[in-house]
Amino acid sequence: MDTSMDFTLGLSQGVAWPWPIAVYLFFAGISGGALTIALALRFYLGQVENTAFLKAATLLSFVTISLGMLCLVLDLTNPLFFWRILVFYNLNSVMSIGVIALSVYIPLVAVVALLALEKELMAIPQLKFLAPIIAKLKGFRRPMEALALVLALSVCAYTGFLISALIRFPLINTSVLPALFIASGLSAGGASAKMLAVWLFKEPLHSGEMKILHGAEWPIMFAEAMFIFMIATALLTGNAGGQFAFAAFHEGVWASVFWIGVVGIGFAAPLLLNFATGKHFSHSAKAFYMSGMCAVVGMMCLRLFILLAGQNYAI
């Protein structure tokens, strides 16, 4: 008897969370990913100096999370109501927990960036007034960086938890999503920070640090591909709702976004650029920027695909 009545109409038209939220997920992923990689590397190598990569990653991290916040606020039905999220809390809500994490994370990223970019900032006469502040903050640098590392990882993961709570959409409502978002955040965040380090902070293309980062890239990418594969198989072998949502992978415009954007540009292109071209080209700056851009575009497509294809296949 239970299934003998149903309705298919809904009271709100279109998707609840349109593309600006995908852009937010993208920026938050880049921010958390870049900072995680930079700080993990810093602790792993026991660095005390401000490396070009750290400078690039902290700057990038701060800029992207700020842009992400902008997307988030502009997507509210009335952006002027934003303060309500900051004043009222519901600790059962993933979004509320995310807001708490972000309100510590954002200022912390700003401070970590301030310390990493000390030399650059002090070169600007108008910013001289920051000198005493920087001197004070320096004493807490290690613990602040450790906390920032934890929060950066949490921000990556939280964006996954945030949307996986939407139980109507089998593609989104999966427990693998936070892990997938961490992996793709690390790969795209790492790639963009690398590009920024080379371009803006003149890090040599083949420095020791860059070598480690290149080396870490492939396992992360492999994990990412595995997680996507896990989601797809779970849908295909799952119940009717899952099988219905599996169509996202092979029909409609979002399937193209997936195959061209995520698989083609995100995975295949960097692999080809690195392993299918001559050593001369694959070690060139051109190949470096191209495969970096591919990782970033691939991640944006992944966020778009998960969020929008996901919401299109409701059960």
Partner: protein, 235 residues
């Protein structure tokens, strides 16, 4: 933030914890130890009686001051028939063949995802009646609840720019001791409303003798809307 709110939140989370821990401890605690009677308001939609006149929708819009083009309740017409085309059964352009209607509105889940996900507590359960309703002054318009509601039964009220749902006319009618506007307006008695926890109520008696179904119970949200489907013999 005022101390009062903090206190309330603490009590709420303490309550939450006990709700989570109670089944683990394997003992049952009377939920309403302090208050004498906790109502569970339910609505029954009888498909056999609904003719699809839409009076319920009009009454709802009026009672709850909804702007044009926005409704908390709609009727889905279910038949093989497409508007403007001939009926697949009798071939006429206007007919009554195979037509049935389903009420689409907030299912008043006992385990409501919209309440769980709402970051501000704007989507909440009314303390006295247990009805899922809105505190419009807290809603940030993030639309999380709209994505989280498994029934797509929430909407943005573009008069207030915040989320909205059918709350059995909690603020507009129930608080005055009246029945929900849709129930009052239905000329065909297709809507029945009352407290299922009161064995003397008409709904309780009705549900005891009638087979009713719930929409998508597999989501585990325990909806409070019951539907009595048209059952055709010999089909």
């Amino acid at each position: 933030m005022s101390e009062n709110i903090e206190r309330r939140r603490f009590l709420k989370s303490a309550g939450m914890c006990s709700l989570i821990l109670t089944p683990l401890a394997g003992c049952s605690v009377k939920e309403d130890a302090d208050s004498a009677h906790k109502p569970h308001y339910v609505m029954v939609f009888d498909q056999n009686k609904c003719v699809g006149c839409g009076d319920c929708k009009t009454a709802c819009n009026q009672a709850n001051n909804l702007p044009a083009g926005v409704s908390r309740v709609i009727l889905e017409q279910q038949s093989g028939r497409v508007e403007g085309q001939a009926c697949p059964h009798c071939g006429k352009m206007v007919c009554d063949c195979e037509r049935k209607f389903v009420r689409v509105s907030c299912q008043q889940c006992k385990n409501a995802p919209c309440v769980t996900v709402c970051p501000t507590g704007a989507a909440h359960r009314d303390a006295k009646t247990g009805i899922v309703t809105m505190d419009a002054s807290k809603c940030a318009g993030c639309k999380y609840c709209i994505g989280a509601c498994p029934y797509n039964a929430r909407l943005i009220n573009n008069n207030t720019d915040v989320a909205d749902n059918c709350d059995f006319c909690l603020h507009s009618k129930l608080s005055k001791g009246e029945l929900p506007a849709c129930v009052q307006s239905c000329k065909y008695d297709a809507l029945i409303f009352g407290d299922a926890n009161d064995p003397q109520s008409y709904v309780s008696k009705l549900l005891a003798v009638k087979d009713s179904v719930r929409i998508k119970p597999q989501f585990g949200t325990e909806p409070s809307l019951r539907y009595i489907p048209i059952v055709k013999l010999g089909v």
